[in-house]
């Protein structure tokens, strides 16, 4: 009906006048600022977690390397002991 079209038109007018004023007012700006601050905090949290993840992965990696080195050393010793026996 004609009413819905009129409603949309009215909505547009309201938006163009009062709406924009509200969205760009100082109070709104404060809201935006707080939201952005929260987003930045969220970003910091995320990057912090990523750092923790990285550190733990490095711990695991270094630990694993060491296990393998020790194994290799033990194997070598066993080899040397064997060949010493044979000689």
């Amino acid at each position: 009906m004609g009413w819905s079209k009129f409603g949309i038109f009215l909505g547009g007018v309201l938006f163009g006048t009062a709406g924009i004023r509200i969205l760009s007012s100082r109070d709104a700006k404060k809201v935006y600022t707080h939201c952005t601050a929260a987003a930045l905090r969220a970003k910091d949290e995320i990057v912090d977690k990523a750092t923790v993840l990285k550190e733990n992965c490095e711990d695991i990696y270094e630990g694993a390397k060491q296990i393998n080195e020790e194994r290799a050393a033990r194997d070598r010793e066993a080899e040397i002991a064997e060949s010493a026996e044979k000689a």
Partner: protein, 696 residues
Amino acid sequence: MKAVIKHEISGRIRVHFKRSRFSFREADTLQYYLQSFPCIKKAEVYERTADAVVFFSGNRDEIIKILGDYDPERCDVPESFYESSSRELNATYFERIVVSIVWHYGKRLFLPMPVRIVLTCLNAVRYLWRGLKTVRSKKLKVELLDAAAIGASILVKDYATASSVMFLLGIGDTLEDWTHKKCTSDLARQMSLNIRRVWRTDGKNEVQVDADQIETGDFVVVRMGNIIPFDGVVKKGDALINQASMTGEAIPVRKAEGGSVFAGTVVEEGEITIRVTAVSGSGKYDKIVRMIEESEKLKSALESRAEGLADRLVPYTLAGAALTLLLSRNIMKAVSVLMVDFSCALKLAMPLSVLSAIREAGDYGITVKGGKFLEAVSEADVLVFDKTGTLTKAEPTVKDVISFNGEDKEELLREAACLEEHFPHSIANAVVKAALDKGLTHEELHTKVEYVVAHGISSSINGSRALIGSWHFIFEDEDVSIPEGKKELFDALPDEYSHLYYAKDGMLAAVILIEDPIREDARRVIRSLRERGIRHIVMMTGDSERTAKRIASEVGVDEYYAEVLPEDKAGFVEERKKTGSKVIMIGDGINDSPALSAADAGIAVDDGAEIARQIADITIGAEDLSRIVILKDLSDSLMKRIRSHYRTIVWFNSGLILFGLLGILPPSLSALLHNASTIALGLKSTTKLLERKQDR
């Protein structure tokens, strides 16, 4: 500061300091503190979590104590350490990468489809624009291919693929940017921390002091071959200054009284006294970084052939896609061909390989200024050595002084040292050290000192014209004669030593015998290099024929040239290049600079003249020659890796395309495999090339 152990294995401890986080400066302070202990092999500080990881050898309790004793208030860290720290840079890029990964995958979870589509299209505009720009330059470059791939996926409404391609490209760009900046920063750090001692003057006397002790307003003398250590205004003298490091101009500029000079530029000829206007630590590091970023040399140097490979394949991929479209009339299939673009894999793997090789070289104390030079080292078949300081130890010593004019040996040595101390040549250093060892100090007995490159020094002492230098300089150029009755003495001079001739008023006053011992590993290194494919090893020296011959045979070079002038060295290099060989030149003195620039890869030894180090493409620590062998191995491994990656990328992706065409693989799967292999290969490119576990 209190700390808690978070993780421990033998030789490695990770601790958490009881703070929520460190600022960049605090983290750097801790890093400096930890690195100052010899038992700590490597230390890493994480500013975001206030954690530190310490790799150590030795007693665990010692390390615990070191960590517990840390007190930032009591640490004395030079300002230059903070300035040249790359911590903030790394933090910024790490953050960028994490955010982009989280955003890309988070988008799918949180944002509704229509919003994602809009974002994807907006993002695509950027890449499409980049692609269109390259069309204008009439060359088929990788960016065009990317734009085609992205554009095509959007056309077929495959937004997910478009978005992943953009994501990968974005990560690739960020990584490349990061490694680029890091390379620049590492280079700049090495170049800015190398100025140690300078000559301060108060008008009459000169005193050598540490660069750290100079303040604004002090007067500093800078002579030929030396880097100007601080910004300043010329108070006395005039010189030709090479400002390439500031402005990129290759032609030296004349500066006289009242002219301003800049830190980091080199005095090519002449001598000046400057009044310091800005001391080190105030922006010198930043200046060098800017210089490197702007210098054309670095840009083209990094463009080694390997990195250009990506662009070469663009036409083939485009042709393949077009062909597919024609043959099958199926846009989806054509798009799947485009998705599997060789170029993005190459563009990620190649630069990463090169830059990672440069960093690995850095671990061995070798500074490489560009990928092109590693290529040159690998392909080289001619190697030219400068004798003094390279094949021989950097510290020749004075064996004896033979007096020819009846004066006391020690007096003559004192005078010689007085003249020689101003110049950056290893033989000059030997004379100075010998005098110092004998306790022969002097006040400046001479007047203006002139240095004739590769020949000698002329000045006057107490009124007599004093000359010191090579045979060529003293006898041929300056026409000095041997005093009456001393001819036999002259002929009897022992051959095994290098001779330095000292003359006063046209008559030979003394001959200083210099022992220039060959490095122990010289023979072995030359043999190793020959085994690795360098077919012609040449030695060039300004020394006399006799000494050169002996050294050449002892060390095992293929050819040698004696009594060589600097221009000849460069000429020889050019000649060999013309016959198609790739030439490496190794030297350390001012007289090597022309040859170093002419060579395909110029290598300077760390301890040598600063101008040589500036002009050289690669610098090596002076401790032992085996670094050269390591450099060759590294370059060869890099080339092998590049060739192998190239083959892998081409074959694997061709296979993907083929299977896609045959219908065996759906396009989304081939895109996934392509992306996965790209990332995997990219990661592999950053691994170490050499297996050695050498402690530096």
